[in-house]
């Protein structure tokens, strides 16, 4: 039977307690999310929103205070299921070893053995342009290079589900393009990708769906088109002689503007629902949530 979701959070909450339970911080609150197989899902949220906590719970690195979830049809934290998963942590730290030895170490921990391991290591070092530095210790690497090694160790087992926490934050433009291509290629092979990032433009370019999390709660999720399209405003393209202009108007004024354009002898070329940028949507949602919380606590 085909699995319904590659990754599913069911009403997950997580509360961190300080020493002797004196202080507590709720990182996730009734968080639910389902990612079907084969999708690239963008997970967005400001710092401290709960993105990393959600990822670590899914991987079994920490236990939820309440709620449950599944990863590749197995409960969170199932050790052998992690052999089918690739994970790149934010600000990843490695043992002081040469890059190739390190990638091989993580491959062996995932049950890979030679010659398959050697072949896969070689492929990844070439793809991520690490071949020339493969013998150098990673302690001498820049952050961008470390991130490439991190991607290599995440991909070493050819995972069905790839969980990436800020995978391109330290990469230059060429590196980002490489990663983007790599993700799209992985998706074409039927893999599921859960991508947590601050880089909204990256997310917009590669993700099928997006979820926005703020202060532990999922504020909105949907396809990129659904989320960015707004029926509250329209863009009207008008040609008047040799000039073509595009006007953005509120929905209730579109008829008046069109009629005015015609009255002035213009030609209406198109009327389309206005598209916000992901940044606009992100800020609008998080600010609105902050305002609601402030009102609630007042």
């Amino acid at each position: 039977m085909a699995m319904a979701f590659a990754l599913e959070f069911q009403n997950v909450s997580k509360e961190y307690r300080g020493a002797f339970g004196r202080t507590s911080f709720r990182a996730l609150s009734g968080f639910s999310l389902a990612i079907p197989p084969g999708e690239i899902f963008g997970f967005l949220g400001p710092n401290g929103a709960g993105k990393t906590t959600a990822i670590h719970i899914a991987l079994g690195l920490m236990a939820p205070t309440a709620g449950t979830g599944t990863m590749l049809d197995r409960p969170f934290g199932h050790a052998r299921t992690r052999r089918r998963i690739g994970f790149l942590a934010e600000n990843i730290a490695f043992y002081h070893r040469p890059a190739e030895a390190l990638v091989r170490l993580y491959g062996r921990l995932n049950g890979l053995r030679d010659p398959q391991l050697a072949q896969r290591t070689k492929e990844l070092l070439d793809t991520l342009e690490l071949r020339e530095v493969a013998g150098k210790p990673v302690s001498k690497f820049s952050r961008g290079m470390l991130q490439r090694v991190g991607l290599a160790q995440a991909l070493i087992n050819d995972p069905e589900l790839l969980i990436l926490d800020e995978p391109t934050s330290a990469l230059d433009t060429a590196g980002r393009v490489t990663v983007r291509e790599l993700l799209l290629r992985a998706q074409a092979q039927g893999k599921t990708i859960f991508l947590s990032s601050h880089l909204l433009s990256e997310v917009e370019l590669v993700c099928d769906r997006i979820g926005i999390i703020h202060k532990g709660r999922l504020l909105r999720q949907g396809t990129v088109a659904e989320l960015l399209e707004t029926r509250a405003e329209y863009e009207i393209a008008v040609r008047n002689g040799a000039d073509t202009t595009t006007i953005r108007v509120p929905a209730n004024q579109q008829r008046r503007v069109i009629e005015q354009a015609w009255a002035n002898g213009g030609e209406v070329l198109s009327v389309t629902p206005a598209r916000r940028t992901l940044e606009e949507l992100f800020l609008k949602l998080t600010h609105a949530d902050d305002a609601v919380r402030k009102e609630g606590s007042a």
Partner: protein, 234 residues
Amino acid sequence: MITIWIIALNFVRQQRIVTYIFLAWILGFGLLFGVWGTADASDMLALFHQQAAYGVVYTLFLAAASVHSERQSRRILAVLSKGIHRYEYIAGLMLGSVLMTCLYMVTLGLVNAWFVLRHGLPLQLWTVLAAATLAAILISSIATMFSTFAHPLVATIGTIIIAGLPAGLQVWKGSTVSALSPAAQVLEQIFNSNFVDGWTAGWDFVPVAVLQTLCFWGLAAIIFQRRDVTAAIE
């Protein structure tokens, strides 16, 4: 089992600087006494006592910081996100400590055997070192257990208390529970040993030491299974 060995060998590799220092220490003293030293048996004895005890203390410090340093450096994330069980991870760290202890004790044995031969002293080293190795393995399992949830300093103090409590009670109250404390027993015997007759204290402590090692490893695995490995370090 392969996973445990991979983690253990990686642990040994990570500690290589400390290992080099300790090996240099043993080899340096060996050279000093072997080449230029006198054949004074009491000096030799003092050195053997000291170095065998250092082996146990060295293991204690290694194991007490093992899990904590992995968490603090965040290197644990890439390891535990792979398809391994947490008990395998703990067993790997413990095996790593044991391998390093064995390396230390074997080097110590070889070097000391060389200058015992050179000076023609009638000393029996290997059985004493075998007993010290067993004590070190037990100490490492207690310290690893503490390391799953405590700072290395607390783990070290905790290990000393657990390992030495029955022996301490015996000294203080004349209690007869020191058999429950094989590590302390062995250390005491090492310091009392004249090395001429080898290990004379018997091997009754071995089953207790093995059982305790397994119990502390199991306890470490159970505690660590319930820990959030990425939460703030205590």
